[in-house]
């Protein structure tokens, strides 16, 4: 065989096509995030759902056995609709109204002020970011000391603002609004900065004042961002704790408790099965907490989707 024949007989290397390379790379890279999501979101929520319909019993050998049960729901409905606990819901709604509702109005106003670069805008941008970066433990301890000890000394009152049942809830709501800015301002002002300058200038030439500009140009252009925050704010309707754990640990006064706080402290001391002493103290098992969560989710989801629908239907149009 000549050298030419040897070269001609060499097999032609098969190369992988560009689209196949992309697919292989994509598949390998996306596998882990998808697996993590499947376990820690899909399976986790499935587990939360099924836990609500389970009851764990302890066998004589010490093992825990799960069996199907609907007993969790009557117990939880009994807790929720107990007249002594109805204030959890009202406190949660009050906290939501002020923190999310009031907080959004203030965030939009301050973000607009910063976006327009009015007096001291950069300084205020730093200041508004400060509460978000310092630990809530620091803020709650300082606020608690000012609201109770210093207030009592200055006013001559025997009880501080947080100690007085008449002013405790108001003080807590004030606190969460006071430190509730930060990242929202950053995202709102980021969204406002992306508005085309020529639109703003032409409005200004047409004689629009700051309020007209906000209503007819700025707000419609950032409405998507606003909707996102409104929806995520609604998600906190029953998880808002009013920083009660920071202020009081496990022993917040009954009058200021919210659903979020109740669920949090219950989860800290919960387990698949609890002994009689824990049950007598009012502790809930994982199954009962999951049932609680399912009921609360059933109440919240229609509200969220209704608001989302209303925003889409009646929200301002960019055109």
């Amino acid at each position: 065989m000549s050298n030419v024949d040897i070269v001609l007989e060499k097999p032609i290397k098969k190369t992988i096509s560009r689209s196949k390379k992309r697919f292989i790379f994509y598949s390998l890279m996306i596998a882990l995030p998808v697996i993590q999501f499947c376990i820690f979101y899909l399976y986790l929520n499935f587990e939360a759902f099924t836990l609500g319909f389970q009851k764990y019993t302890r066998t004589s050998t010490g093992k825990f056995v799960a069996e199907f049960s609907l007993d969790n729901f009557p117990k939880i409905l009994g807790i929720i609709f107990n007249g002594d606990n109805i204030h959890w819901f009202t406190n949660s709604f009050v906290a939501f109204a002020f923190h999310t509702g009031g907080g959004m109005i203030l965030s939009l106003t301050f973000s607009y002020y910063i976006y327009k670069k009015y007096h001291f805008a950069e300084f205020f941008r730093v200041v508004l970011f400060l509460p978000g970066i310092i630990s809530s433990i620091v803020w709650t301890t300082i606020f608690s000391y000012f609201a109770d000890t210093i207030y009592s000394a200055v006013s001559g009152s025997k009880l501080g603002l947080m100690e007085n049942p008449d002013t405790a809830l108001g003080s807590l709501v004030f606190f969460v609004v006071w430190i509730g800015f930060g990242a929202n301002i950053l995202l709102y002002s980021g969204a406002m900065s992306s508005i085309n300058e020529s639109i703003v200038e032409s409005a200004s030439l047409d004689g629009a004042n700051f309020f007209q500009e906000f209503i007819h140009i700025t707000f419609p252009m950032i409405f998507n961002t606003f909707t996102t925050f409104l929806i995520t704010g609604l998600s906190t309707l029953f998880t808002q704790e009013l920083s009660l754990y920071n202020f009081f640990g496990m022993n917040a006064p009954e009058s200021v408790r919210t659903i979020g706080y109740y669920l949090y402290i219950q989860t800290l001391e919960s387990d698949v099965w609890l002994n009689e002493a824990a049950v007598r103290r009012g502790r809930l098992t994982f199954s009962e907490l999951s049932a609680f969560g399912l009921i609360i989710t059933g109440i919240t989801l229609p509200i969220i989707y209704s608001v989302k629908y209303l925003c889409k239907k009646f929200g301002p149009s960019v055109e």
Binding site: R22, Y26, M29, I30, P33, V34, Q36, F37, L44, E47, A48, L51, F64, T109, Y113, K117, F120, F124, V126, V127, F129, P131, G132, I134, S135, I137, V138, T141, I142, F143, A153, W178, L186, G190, N209, F210, F211, N224, T225, T228, I231, T232, S235, T239, Y245, N246, G249, T267, D271, V272, F286, L289, S290, A291, F292, I296, T297, L301, I304, K308
Partner: protein, 329 residues
């Protein structure tokens, strides 16, 4: 000779917004700075000075250095070390941190009580804060890039689920999370937090997704023509373009994790972080040295000052412009 650069100042006319909002924001700024400054000043006072002033109703005095009698004015800050005495009797070693027994797929884990040292708490804090943030940001950015640049059906499904997870709260899932983490032996482990937090179903995913979606495909195509692999394109070309955003989100997440005590409390009670330790000492121990007010505020300043220093040096990065595309139907 030297031409002065004259900055054109935009003339701002007073309007109702400025007249109302500016004083409000100035008052708000005062209500933030004053208590922080007061807390810092209080942390520098001796116990004697603080309680004498309190009895006289003088809460707003400056620390008297002469009362320290040769000791450092920062002596209260060393009190936090006494929360972790080692080599002494068990009752003097600070607070116990306990975890109940539970079942895993690998077998039973027995109940445990520990008394961590200061170095263990610092290690827990740094490894939890830095590790969780790195894993989370890398995970989120990579997934957003893949979904934005590789338009397969799965990308659309992932984005749909990310938006669904953000907008649809599922309450009471913490109990199920604890059960799953225990089962997989990820409970009470810092690497368990890395894995649990490595999710793309957050708002930051939408931010990254919007960025990569708007990034021109020309860069990718040109690199492919030059023979670059997909991995090389992702990490050498596209990710560096998002570096400003990645760093901003990294810093924001780092700050959140540094201040986070709730997660440590719930998912890793045997790996207490600094925030967890300080909170527990403030609330649960009447015999703790943190009951003394100057010590309490010194401990709080230990929590706040590192983040404040980070903020001062990286202010522009932390507050860099990031925009959220919003949830499109």
């Amino acid at each position: 000779m030297f031409k002065k650069k004259i900055k054109e100042k935009k003339k701002i006319h007073l309007n109702a917004l400025i007249i109302i909002v500016c004083p409000l924001l100035l008052i708000y700024a005062f209500t933030l700075f004053f208590p922080l400054a007061w807390a810092f000043m209080t942390s520098l006072k001796t116990h004697g000075q603080f309680y004498t002033d309190a009895l006289d109703g003088n809460y707003f005095t400056l620390p008297d250095i002469s009362l320290w009698k040769g000791k450092s004015i920062f002596s209260n800050y060393t009190i936090i070390l006494s929360l972790f005495k080692t080599g002494e009797a068990l009752t003097q070693r600070g607070l116990p941190y306990s975890s109940p027994a539970y079942d895993t797929i690998f077998g039973k884990v027995l109940s445990k009580t520990i008394y961590p040292t200061i170095w263990e708490v610092i290690y827990n804090t740094i490894s939890y804060t830095v590790g969780t943030t790195i894993v989370y940001v890398f995970w989120c950015a990579s997934t957003a890039y893949l979904c934005a640049k590789y338009r397969y059906k799965l990308s659309g499904i992932i984005t749909f689920f990310a938006i669904f997870a953000i907008t649809t709260p599922i309450f009471g899932a913490n109990a199920a999370a604890i059960k799953i983490l225990r089962s997989l032996h990820l409970y009470n482990e810092i690497y368990g937090r890395y894995i649990h937090n490595a999710t793309f179903a957050t708002m930051h995913y939408l931010i990254f997704y919007a960025f990569f979606e708007n990034l021109s495909n020309t860069y990718n195509e040109a690199a492919e023509i030059d023979g670059a692999s997909q991995l090389r394109i992702m990490y050498s070309i596209c990710m560096p373009m998002a570096m400003t955003m990645i760093v901003t989100i990294f810093l924001l997440s780092f700050v959140t994790k540094w201040n986070d005590y709730g997660t440590a409390l719930m998912f890793m009670p045997l790996k207490p972080t600094l925030a967890f330790v300080i909170l527990k000492n403030i609330h649960y121990v009447t015999s703790s040295p943190l009951v003394q007010v100057p010590n309490k505020f010194a401990a709080l300043m230990v929590l706040a000052i590192p983040i404040l220093v980070l903020f001062i040096f990286l202010k522009n990065r932390l507050m860099g412009n990031i925009s959220l595309g919003g949830i499109k139907e």
